[in-house]
């Protein structure tokens, strides 16, 4: 009976000791180093390998600098330089420079994106894939609709309506607008412009009205930003789909671009799923309230 109790105690203590060790190892910042360096390693610097491919790159990059040095003397110098570089890199790691320096952070993020893109780039694209993509994204491969407009801004509704009547009677907006005080003709190129260019000149609200007008149609006065606008659609060109063969190179680059975007989105979703992300909700709410 006593023997069994003693055995149980020993087992219990053993389990406790192992659990303790696991906890210590889990919580420790110490990295356990194994001797698993690459076969082409030249030298280990604090157990980090400096391998032959790095030397090859260094040799290529420093060929001009090393021009005056004998061939047999070049390699020891380069390896010493690589050892010094490795020491500095290790110091940068221990100081947290990688995480703290904004420029390095940007390069690191770009490096991760390049790695993700490289994986998606290596996949071949087939002709049926391209055709499907073209058929499913017709809006991307078309010449956009274009519009030529004249726009005037009036101070009062009466002035706007008077000008409107003039235009409907046969005058142009250019002729009718200066009739009233404080009226401004908005400066827009007279050529045909796509919708995104109109938005740049006129904003979203007025552009949306223009897109609803028929050719040569004149809008009702539209109140916006403390003024009244008259929009006259002089000419328009409807959108035209570009045939597949003509758009082929654009289809390929758009396909690749979306493929890269999807690969990045998938990779980020995967990283997020595996990550431990915690929010400081009270601070975020306070910042939102403070505006």
């Amino acid at each position: 009976m006593t023997q069994t109790a003693n055995n149980s105690k020993t087992i219990f203590r053993g389990i406790l000791a192992i659990a303790g060790l696991i906890l210590v190892l889990e919580g420790s910042n110490t990295e356990i180093r194994h001797l698993d360096y690459p076969l082409d390693t030249l030298v280990l610097v604090n157990q980090k390998p400096v391998a032959r491919p790095v030397l090859t790159v260094a040799r290529q990059r420093s060929s001009t600098l090393m021009a005056g040095i004998q061939q047999q003397d070049q390699e020891p110098l380069l390896v010493q330089r690589l050892i010094d570089d490795e020491l500095i890199l290790q110091r940068a790691e221990s100081l947290g420079v990688l995480e703290a320096d904004p420029g390095i952070r940007k390069l690191l993020a770009r490096s991760a994106i390049n790695t993700i893109n490289a994986k998606s780039r290596s996949l071949p694209i087939t002709e049926p894939q391209l055709r499907d993509f073209y058929n499913n994204h017709q809006a991307v491969f078309q010449k956009p609709a274009r519009f030529a407009v004249k726009v005037a801004r009036f101070l009062t509704f009466e002035n706007a309506m008077a000008a409107r009547r003039e235009i409907l009677a046969g005058s142009s907006l250019l002729e009718a607008a200066p009739l009233a005080d404080g009226t401004v003709l908005i400066e827009i190129p007279t050529s045909l412009l796509p919708a995104h260019m109109l938005r740049r000149y006129l904003g979203t609200g007025l552009t949306d009205v223009i897109l609803q007008l028929n050719q040569e149609q004149l809008s009702q006065p539209i109140a916006q930003d403390g003024g009244l606008y008259l929009l006259h659609l002089l000419d328009q060109q409807t959108s035209q789909v570009i045939p597949f063969q003509q758009a082929r190179s654009d289809v390929i680059s758009e396909f690749k671009s979306r493929d890269r975007q999807n690969a990045l989105a998938e990779a980020l979703a995967e990283y997020k799923e595996r990550a431990d992300i915690q929010f400081n909700s009270s601070l975020l709410e306070q910042l939102a309230r403070d505006g």
Partner: protein, 167 residues
């Protein structure tokens, strides 16, 4: 009587041990959460790395400069999400060894370190190129002294060696 008191003492010590363990576990579990909610300089943690309030506010300010309309909740979520994604990409790149494998990252890191050593030297001795150079040389020399360098292959002879050159 003596056996009874011995048993009671054992039970008491076991109870104390269990209570102590429970308190320890509770403290260990609640530690990071308590510090997170009390930390007014951090908006989120990503795998233990802080996304600071100042970063978040700066990103929001940049967005508001580009936007004509005021920042809304959706914008705030978008910005926080972008900062988290950037942190995840940075962590992934470090984990994949970009510091040594990506030439741009490697060069930029080395340059940043050298610049900081030289800036410190300039702050101490003025803008003197000789003292800047020797500051870098001294720094590297000190790193070499503290390093464990083990040659696997002698570079000039290509023969494997096992001796430890410096410790």
């Amino acid at each position: 009587m003596a056996i009874l008191s011995k048993q009671t003492a054992k039970q008491q010590s076991l109870t104390l041990l269990l209570v102590g363990a429970a308190v320890g576990i509770l403290m260990a579990v609640s530690g990071p959460y308590r510090s997170l909610t009390q930390d007014n300089a951090v908006v989120a943690w990503v795998n233990g790395t802080a996304i600071e309030k100042i970063q978040y506010i700066q990103a929001l300010e940049l967005l508001s400069l580009e936007r004509r309309s005021p920042i809304n909740d959706q914008d705030r979520r978008l910005i926080l999400n972008r900062l988290i994604e950037e942190e995840l990409l940075v962590q992934k790149a470090i984990q994949d060894g970009a510091l040594r494998n990506d030439l741009d990252v490697r060069q930029r890191t080395l340059q940043t370190m050298l610049d900081s050593i030289q800036s410190e030297s300039i702050a101490r001795h003025g803008d003197d190129s000789e003292s800047s150079y020797s500051a870098v040389a001294d720094y590297v020399e000190q790193l070499r002294d503290d390093a464990a360098i083990t040659w696997i292959v002698e570079p000039s002879t290509e023969t494997p060696v096992t001796k430890q050159v410096a410790q």
